[in-house]
Each structure stands twice: as structure tokens, then as C-alpha cells.
Amino acid sequence: MKHFSKLLLVGIVLALLSLTAVSVLAQAGEGGVLVTDNIGDDPATFNPITCNDTVCSLVTGWLYPGIIGLDPATGSPAPMVPGNVAESWAYDDSGTVLTINLRQDLAWNDGTPITSADYMWSITAVKSGLTSSPRTSMFMTLDDGTPAGGNITNIEAPDDYTVVVTFDHPDCSSFNDVNDLPLVPAHVFSELYGTDYASLDADPLAIPTVSFGPFKDIDFSPNERVSLIADPAYPDTVLGYVSPSEWVYKSVPDTTVSVEQFLAGEITYTGIPAERQADVAATEGVKTFEFSQNGFQYMGFNLADPTNPQNGLDEEGNAIDQGHHPIFGDVRVRQAIAHAVDVDAMIQGILDGRGTRINTHTIPTSWTYDPNLEGFALDQEAALALLAEAGWVDDDNDVSTPLVATEDALYAEAGTPLEFTLQTNAGNLARERIGQTIQSQLAEIGIKVNFEAIEFGTLVDILTGQTFDAIIIGWSLGLPVDPDLAWAYGPEGDLVGAGFAFTSYNNPVFNELMEQGKTIPGCDIEARTAIYQEANAILANDLPYLYLYAANVMYAAQEGVENWDPYPNFQQWNIDAWSVND
């Protein structure tokens, strides 16, 4: 070990000495091969229009520009973000017409200028309804007249460098939909596919030769890797040239093996799972970057009758009586559970302290976060008192048996034991650990939890079918942050078998706030913040979910990677400047 640190010291000194020389020497394509990995999924397509998985989004992200970029430092939409084409944009007074001006200095790597026609090609293809792209959800109706559920009624390009988007009604959340589709080289795609948009799906792995990005030229081997090489023609670089010569996306399905491969230097940079962050942080020779995840874990309650799942609204938009869950129908029981579960101990014990407790559907990095919002303190007495008030008592003075319902219970028959099933997806170690901890902690106050880890596909069936009691999963929130939560708690999203408002929570005050929040004139940030903080305070008290924590995400790279400068959620924003020294 001594020898090792000595060597390391010598190495650092040498590296420092040669730093100036290196930065002079580094040239286009001489920055070495960057190797990263994923958990083994293959991209379903290399077509950016039909792409709907994380592997293909990452790969096509290198090849095709977006219209409005996100500033890596803030995570918010910004003009002139490298690799994106928007120069500026503005709404009209009605808040329904968005005009985007495009940069005029960009060209595909065959020299053809990038124009609004390139954006329109993607839009026209998806709006035709002939592709398999799930992005039809941005439009209100498709060309064949079928409703698609979105807010955009029309997109057109009056000239080569202007795009005009028309929305049906003002909605502050709809802005992000504009970014759902990237630009594609229209001159190439027209030649390949004409107007037969269905043929986009005929050969999903076909790769057009013309692109715009730091890398080009996909070479794909199923379940092994995707490789791209540097594109010297890319103009939007940090240093004035693309430094790495090649980017390899390896498929390493086992996370233990993946971390070991990284520690052994076979992988240049990667994300580290929560369970291994402490190991990697303590390892010499690697550098890490840690930040709070853009998402959170929670335990969701089914508030409606699980034996007879119903939609939130009927076809005329009237509320349907969904019945009540015998246990969770009563908010006091949910609050008692919040008093009894020790989330801080979970963060310490399960995440080694690498996580942040949350009390509502908002994470600390969001602009609607309210630092003053208090959660339920750990307090078993208070929990028991709330349960007693809700009509659940210990009938036999035996703590090892569950409490039972008395006549006072709102929705449970007298004599029913306080017992429910808690499910999560098998294979997610953190959630399995949360589940067992909750089971053990609730047993202490006389709530019997039957915890099950089941296969993900089966769990999705139970979840969207709304036949569950309680479930542990997580949400990852998109970027830029969209504070609208109607999809998770509003009755329109409460669709048996399809929607995501599966808790059947329905609070008119909350629904009204959601409506206000997205239709506020001019989308004034301060006014919206106040509205969403109020809505989140309601959730924190009503607890359709027991909000748990936002875990930390860790990126790690080999010590030798230069110019590695990650921001939260934007690890690779300046990848064209990186270089690896072996």
C-alpha cells in the first residue's frame, strides 16, 4: 500500500509537470477512447423519431440536434446551448403561439445547412400517426383525425429559420413538448423514406450517414456494445475540436461486474449504484461527482376499493364512486404510518446517508421546493393515537398480533385485523430493503405488513390495474422540471389499466390548484411557485404516497480523464473536450 501511494504521488507530480505539454499536444481525435457501460439493454432503434429507450436516446443524442437545449448548469431551457438550434423564442400575448428562431450558422456534416425543414420533417412524420413513435402524445389530433391527448394543434415553419408552434390553450407545461422530437437531416430522410412514414419502422437499425454531433458512424453489436467515432466536422465544440477519438457504450448486465470493471480501469466513466457508492468514493485513482437524484422513492397507497377498481371519471367527466380502501381510505391511518416509519434511519442505514428525505412530491433541487414544509416526525405514540382515533385498537394487549378495527373504523368492518400487502419489483435491492424495513417498523405498532418482491411486468399489471394495497416504487422526474402533478393525483389520470394516478386520490382543492398553476397568464414563476407549494403542502398532509427520499446519484471517472466537468444530471455535456491519458 505504501509503495502504491508513493507511485501515485510520483504519478501526480509527473502529471502536473506534463499538464501544459498535454494540453498543447491534445488535438482533434487524440483524446483516446471513452468507454462507458449500461445494464445490458439493446437500443431498439437508431432512428431518433421512433426512439423510446434510454440507450437509443443517448446514442441518437450524439447524432441529431434538439431544438431547444437545456443549460447544463441550471437544467432549464436556454437559447444557444451547444448542440441545439434555438437562438431565441417568444410567446405571443395569448400565450398560445410560440415562435422559435433558429441559429443560421449550423450545418449537417455533409455541408447542408440545418433549417426549420429538418425539424418539420420529424414533426410531420410523427403527426402522420404512421410511425411507432410514442411522441404522438404532444399533438392534440393526428393527421388521420384521431385525438392524441396533447396540447399542440399545429407546428409550421414560415421560413428556413423560424418555427411557429400553436397550442390549443395556454399551458405552462406544454412548452417542454416542443423538445420531444429532434431535428433530422430532411434532405436525407426524404430520400430514404419519402412520405411513407410507416417505413421508418421497417429497418429500425438503419443509420443515415449524415449527422450533427461530436460523434458519428454507429457500429452496433447486439448485447455487446455500440461504438461511435469522433466527427471532426462538428462545429459546436468547447475546445474548437472533438478531442476523444471514439465513444464505446458497452453492455455489462451485472452491476457488481460493472463496478469492478470500472475499478479495474476497463471502463472510463460510469454511474455507480447506491450500494457501491461508499466503496467507489473510498477508492484511490478515480474521481467522483455526487448529486441528489432527479426523482424519488415512495410507498404508494391505494385509497379506493382494491376489489373493485374504477376509473376516476366517467365518459362525461363526472366523478365515479370508487369505494374506499378499508385501511388506507382513512387519512389518519396514512398519517399514523408516516409517524411510524423511520425514514432518516433508512437513509443512514440503506443509503449510507447518501440521500435526502422528502415530505412531498417535490425534490430539493426543484424550483417549487419549499424548505419550510415539515413532514411527520418519528413518533410511535402519535401513530398509535391516530390509529385509535381512526378506530384501530389493540384488542388483546399483545403487540405481536395486529391491531383490529372497532365499530369506529370508517371503512373497515369491526374485527378486521390491520394487515395489508406491500409489493415492490424484485431485483431492486434498495426497494427490497425499504420494504423489509417498513415491514419491521410497522410491526412495532401492530400493523402487519405482508411484503412481497415480485417481477416487474406483474407489478405493473397490479399497479395500473389498481388491485394493490400499497406499493414501493419511484418516479424519475423529467428535465426541465415540470411541477404539474395532475397526471399522478388527478382524476383524469385515474384510469384502470392505463393511468398513473393509481392511488385514486381525488381532492378538488388540489385539482383546482393544478389547473391554476398551468394556466396562469405568462407562466409567472413566482406565482406558480406559490401555487405549487400550496398544492405540495396538501399532499404532504393527505399522503396519497408516503414520500421517502431522493437518493444520491454518483458519476465516477478514471483519474486520467481530463476536462471531466459534470453538472447534476448532465454528466457528458462537454464530452467533446474530454481526453483520457493512459
Binding site: G40, S221, N223, E224, E246, A498
Partner: protein
């Protein structure tokens, strides 16, 4: 003999049909739905899900789906220029004409959108690389160990192999694999930590140039075979050694070794032959765990991920290919049995 093989092949037809109906039904009875799994994303609206379900044809009644899968649907699609693209979009939204598995069309993967059979065939080279190597190693190591252990029964070799051959096989494969990667890859740094060792771009190099990548996964995969074959071979060989004809041969003065190896070993192989057919077909299925640990791009991983995504075309293509190979494997092994054991007549 030929009559027997023919009879078995004809019998295989109803077997095959039974398998397809049964697996199709089981598959649809299983919980989980491909469309909800592909669209488990709050930004995707209900309307889009409907559209996708129609395009995949999963909204049709089960018998229709089965028939389309089995015999195709071009009889109800207008396609006058016969270019495989319907002239008008069919009501069920399917984007291409199906010919059915009986004519070799297994449909397109829901998720990967490519021809399901092609996806399976793509994985065969990698799967065979690993499993054939493992089979060869387990036979060439396992059988001689079994024979020698029987011949030197009770001696140190017998005792040593009796424990030794199974030591490596007495820990779970995934654990063995991770430990080998950790020891030889991470700590010693002498062997690769997984994958086939192909270059990051272009065609894969020939197998002999990347044998180092085969060593660890082969060890993990063949330990079971070595233990199994050596134990069965030892038992089978002992029966032969103790049989009267061997004793007679020895009594007549033939040297021990000659009798044992020439006659005994040959006959002792008969029970082993029954394993061979199923083993050969089992190889095609791949080794899910070993492939996962060693990042090997084989068939097992494809099938498991198809299962977890409810990607039915791939799963069903796997079932069909698997069942055909299994049926053939059993016929071959029964025929082999008859060939090596002259007492059996059909």
C-alpha cells in the same frame, strides 16, 4: 430403423402443434402486458397506448392472433403488388403482411422491431462458442475421470476426484463467476472481466484469437458437466467392470486394461448417450446466468429480456426453435441408444 424414425417424426407433428397452442395460451394467461411495459411513462398518453396496441395487434381476440402467428394474414390483407406492404392499412393497424411461422415468418419483435427469428439466429454464434466449448471440456475431462475412478476404485485417484470433481460445482454459478472475475480479473489482472473480446468496431475476430475471453465462462459452465459426467461414468463403468462378461474375459487371461477400456468403457457409455440428445439441444438455449455475469451476447440473455418485457414474438420464436430442437434431440438420442446397444430392437 427408418420406419421407427419416420414414425417418431410423424408423431412429432401433433406434439409441435400442441406445444404452440399450449405456450401461446400460457403466455397470454401470464400477467403483464407488453404495451404497458413499453409505455410506463407518464408523458405518454392513453391515446398513444391504444394506437400502439393496435399496431402490435395485441388487441385482437386470442384465436385470431394465434392464427395470424401460425399461418399468416395475407388472405385478409389487400396487397396486389405483393411487396409485403399492405396497399391499405389494415384495420388492426399492423404495418406489414404476416406469413405465419409455418412459412418461416415469426413476426417482428414488439420492442426491438426486427424479425424475431433473425434476432435469435443472430445470437447463435456467440451461444455456440460458449456452450460447445463447455460441452467439449466437460466430456473430455469428465468421462476419463469417471473411467479411471472406476478402474482405480477406492484408490487415491478415486477419492481425490470423488471430492475434487464436485468441489467446483458445489457453489452457485453466479457466485463462482463473480469470484473468478474478481480474482483473475480485478486482483491478478491476468484474464479479461467478461465479454467476447471482439474489437470495439467492425467484425469480430476469429475465436482462436480471443481464447482468453473463453477461459473463465467455460470453467463456470463446464464444472457442472465434469462433475455430472464423471459421476455417471464412474457408476456406469463400475457396473460394467463387475459384470460377468468382463469377469469372463479377465478369467480367460485378457489383460485388465484392454478389457476395461475396450469393452467396459464402450458399454458404459450407453446410459450416457441418453443424455446427449437433450444436452445438445439444451446448449442452444444458452446459459442465462453465465451470459449475464460475463456480458456474453448469447441467446439466454435475449430470451430473458424478451420475457421480462413480454416481447411475445421473440419468446414464441424461442419456444418454437427450442421445441423443434428438443424433439429432434430426443429422436437422435433414442436412435443413438439403439445403435450403441444392440439388444434394443424397435
Amino acid at each position: 430403423m427408418i420406419k421407427y424414425i419416420l414414425r417418431r417424426l410423424i408423431q412429432a407433428v401433433p406434439t409441435f402443434l400442441g406445444i404452440t397452442i399450449l405456450s401461446y395460451m400460457i403466455m397470454w394467461a401470464a400477467p403483464g402486458d407488453p404495451v404497458s411495459l413499453m409505455t410506463f411513462d407518464p408523458t405518454i398518453k392513453q391515446e398513444t397506448k391504444e394506437r400502439l396496441a393496435n399496431a402490435l395487434g395485441v388487441n385482437d381476440p386470442l384465436p385470431i392472433q394465434y392464427l395470424r402467428w401460425l399461418i399468416g394474414d395475407e388472405w385478409k390483407v389487400i396487397d396486389e403488388d405483393a411487396d409485403g406492404v399492405p396497399d391499405e392499412r389494415p384495420a388492426d393497424g399492423l404495418t406489414r403482411v404476416r406469413y405465419g411461422i409455418l412459412r418461416g415468418d415469426f413476426g417482428d419483435s414488439f420492442y426491438l422491431r426486427q424479425d424475431a427469428l433473425e434476432l435469435i439466429v443472430q445470437r447463435i454464434p456467440a451461444t455456440l462458442e460458449l456452450s460447445v466449448t463447455a460441452l467439449i471440456v466437460s466430456l473430455t475431462v469428465g468421462l476419463p475421470i469417471g473411467i479411471l475412478a472406476a478402474v482405480w476404485r477406492g484408490g487415491w485417484f478415486d477419492q481425490f476426484t470423488r471430492v475434487g470433481a464436485v468441489v467446483g460445482n458445489a457453489v452457485p454459478g453466479f457466485w463462482m463467476g463473480i469470484m473468478l472475475i474478481l480474482f483473475f480479473g480485478a486482483i491478478l489482472g491476468v484474464l479479461p472481466m467478461g465479454d467476447r473480446g471482439c474489437p470495439t468496431r467492425g467484425e469480430c475476430t476469429p475465436l482462436y484469437m480471443r481464447l482468453d475471453h473463453l477461459i473463465l465462462p467455460t470453467v463456470v459452465l463446464s464444472l457442472g458437466g465434469i462433475a455430472g459426467y464423471s459421476r455417471y461414468m464412474r457408476a456406469s463403468m463400475l457396473e460394467q467392470i463387475n459384470s460377468d462378461y468382463i469377469r469372463t474375459a479377465r478369467a480367460k487371461g485378457l489383460p485388465n486394461r484392454l478389457v476395461w477400456f475396450k469393452h467396459g468403457a464402450k458399454n458404459a457409455l450407453i446410459p450416457i448417450a441418453t443424455f446427449l440428445g437433450p444436452t445438445l439441444t439444451g446448449l442452444i438455449g444458452g446459459a442465462v446466468i453465465t451470459e449475464t455475469i460475463f456480458s456474453w451476447p448469447g441467446m439466454g440473455r435475449l430470451l430473458v429480456s424478451a420475457l421480462t418485457r413480454r416481447d411475445y414474438p421473440i419468446v414464441m420464436a424461442g419456444v418454437v426453435v427450442g421445441s423443434i430442437l428438443t424433439i429432434l434431440g430426443y429422436i437422435i438420442s433414442d436412435v443413438l441408444y439403439a445403435v450403441v446397444d444392440p439388444r434394443i430392437r424397435f
